[in-house]
Subunit: 442 residues, 2 copies
């Protein structure tokens, strides 16, 4: 993408309304724009990151055997009256009347609707286990939306729902998602720690939050330092192997970890002092096993191998991509801007033409841009007539992992400079060497 | 995807509520499920087709130089009060009050919001032309939602918005989208005919609907038969070449074409009788040039090369993916079910195991499934224990382009049968030959 043709409105000044660094950087980098309180437009740069995050989530859901569908945003109140949550949900539920005065709502979550889908079609244990997910907008009318897309009202969520014949099957489905989540966050460049959690309005008796550590995190967390070195389930993980999944779950829940709500000071103090980790964290995922809470209320049953009807056991599993983007920034930035993990960077590399219009610089940049684009890189090419200093600042701000800098002096020697955004290291090499180095590192 | 692990709830009986064939087939094939009047869940099979349709639309928007962002579904009433459309829009607009009693609405279209985004950032003619698009849910509270997702209330739409300094630039942007639309529909397996259209509540003086011919179409259309043979702009189309784009526009508007609203009987009758085409059609896209209607009302101006402020000229360009899916079915089906064009088929091919559990059949199917998946095919593998007749009926119903049938007798000879869903032609060949034939045809 040539920057002269892209739409990336960089803000020169720090926006006053931003209380946390990710919100400030997302506004400054032209990633998002607030349209109303807690309601955002994802501008092109932000949309690219959001898409990459979503793609990784989808790939890991698919790998685990979950099946994608797409439920609508608007739901009928009747479904929620069946489960008993319509009255219980409170002011965070956006209630709507359509032109025929029917009571509708903008879905804050989808347990009711997926249970309705399930009970319409699935009648036999032979069709279980089943895990259905979608990636869809939700709305929660927060009293105080803030922190940009970290706590917005309209937000994107991946929510999966598992259906099993009994508790044992449901716990296996839970372990499957547990492993998928570890893989997902790791691929997003995050170390997420699963912490036993309260189940809140979703219900149930087994639940974990996945928390990443960040100084600016919203909640206080306590855990054993060992988490930092635990192995992430590899690409070879067999999601059909119940024992293997259970081993992963047990390993990752073998040492202490809790948010402040679930904190047990005595248990934490029992850990040797040097191995305790007390920090701030950001919740990036939440999984629940809630048994038959919805299937009972809504009559979601299957015929078992015994010929009798069984109420199915369910779980739900959420990750918020629009929340993950700022969470990644909180975990990865410096004073000059964002530092994207490779996997979610809006572009793989940026070519900076320090003297647009100079025939040699233009030719060098054109060659690099064309060669790397052809090799499958998502390239940004800063071909604008901004000053070099502005171009450097923009490249640092938007956090693209690699900068390829073509200035007139280096280009006269057939050379360019490569800068690594994470380390700041710069290296001068020939144009061909630069192209080859990037291709080799892919 | 193994069918035993997929979620594809086939209906055996014809659903009574479906008035048109696409609605009937989408319900029977388990592509969609109605949740409330005019509000649908896209089940996994439907979601796959919807994604393929959306991907083609996105690729052609990107190719034409349009830039993707994502605006939210909920909008503030204030924006629409600025443009004057808040009161004018009528009952189709879903009006909402949030917990703070602020007036919101579920966007039926986004002219106001994109104009607001534009005016916040773009100040100079140097940033023009600009075309911003998104693919997002919309809601129109139709009095009588019907025909499944053909006329639903919550629907997906690709809407693009162009910004230019003057009318000449805007007409070039219009021509650019015109060519992109011809390419898009062609890649979707459709022949769409652009017809001069009324601008309705969007406004403006230049507008075309893209109509595909289908016996079950909602509107009567009249055109010259030549359209059937006009060339589609190729992959080499230069979207920076204003003259070339104009030539495409002129060619495709050189002969008579009109919907009944814009029909001029005298002009139509002037066409030699053998060259007249009078048929039913389905609108699959609509493009508008509406000048300064919104930019005037909302103050979207840029500084021109003359140093003065200019109100920008705008256009908008819509395609509805959730409407396109049934439109494609209307145009391509037979008495046994859907016949997907290759480009949007939910799977590229289906392997039908006529005797699951038979070692030789299982081995043959496993080989074919693994080889073709590895070669990049989106494969479905019917590994269920349904009767062969049921499997054939399902494969025909869901319309996958190629069926590879492995029965015990053929497999004993190392052979399978390949059936082309479109022609019904069957051919027996060795397993290797079948794999190679598919790979060669990709």
């Amino acid at each position: 993408m040539r920057l002269s043709r892209f739409f990336m409105p960089i803000l020169k000044e720090n926006p006053k309304e931003a209380e946390i660094v990710s919100h400030r950087l997302m506004l400054r980098a032209g990633m998002v724009r607030q349209q109303s309180a807690g309601i955002y437009t994802w501008l092109p740069l932000g949309k690219r990151v959001l898409d990459k995050v979503t793609k990784i989530i989808r790939e890991e859901q698919d790998r685990s055997g979950a099946i994608e569908l797409l439920m609508p945003t608007l739901q009928s109140a009747e479904l929620w009256q069946e489960s008993g949550r319509y009255d219980a949900y409170g002011d965070e539920m956006l209630r709507i009347k359509d032109r025929n005065k029917r009571d509708m709502l903008y879905g804050p979550t989808n347990e009711e609707m997926i249970t309705d889908v399930f009970r319409s079609y699935v009648k036999s244990y032979k069709d279980l286990p089943l895990n259905l997910y979608h990636i869809q907008l939700k709305f929660r009318d927060e009293r105080r939306p803030r922190f940009g897309t970290m706590r917005s009202r309209e937000f994107l969520m991946k929510d999966a729902y598992s259906f099993d014949l009994d508790r044992e099957g449901a716990v296996n489905s839970y372990n499957r998602m547990f492993a998928a989540y570890l893989r997902t966050f790791s691929r997003l460049g995050l170390r997420a720690i699963p912490m036993r959690a309260d189940t809140g309005p979703i219900g149930g008796d087994l639940s974990h939050e996945f928390i990443i550590l960040a100084d600016t995190g919203e909640s206080e967390v306590f855990c054993h330092k060992d988490f930092v070195n635990f192995d992430i389930p590899g690409i070879e993980t067999d999601f059909d192997d119940a024992e293997g999944l259970r081993a992963i779950f047990e390993k990752w829940t073998s040492v202490y970890a809790a948010t402040s709500e679930m904190h047990d000071a005595a248990a934490f103090d029992a850990i040797p002092e040097g191995e305790r980790l007390s920090a701030r964290g950001i919740e990036v995922g939440h999984i629940f096993y809630f048994g038959t809470k919805y299937s009972d209320a809504m009559g979601a049953k299957v015929q078992g191998p015994d010929g009798k009807e069984h109420v199915v056991h369910m779980g739900s599993y959420g990750i918020g991509p629009t929340r993950l983007v700022p969470a990644i920034i909180e975990a990865s930035h410096d004073e000059n801007g964002i530092i994207w993990p490779k996997s979610v960077a809006p572009f793989d590399a940026v070519v900076i033409n320090m003297k647009s219009g100079d025939a040699a610089c233009d030719a060098a940049c054109d060659t690099i841009y064309a060669s790397l684009s052809k090799a499958g890189f998502d390239m940004l090419y800063d071909d604008t007539d901004d000053r070099a200093g502005t171009k450097f600042a923009t490249a640092d701000l938007i956090g693209v992992p690699v900068q390829i800098i073509a200035g007139p002096r280096a280009v006269a020697n057939g050379e360019v400079e490569i800068k690594d955004r994470t380390t700041g290291a710069r290296e001068t090499m020939t144009i061909d060497a630069a192209i080859n180095k990037l291709i080799a590192s892919k």
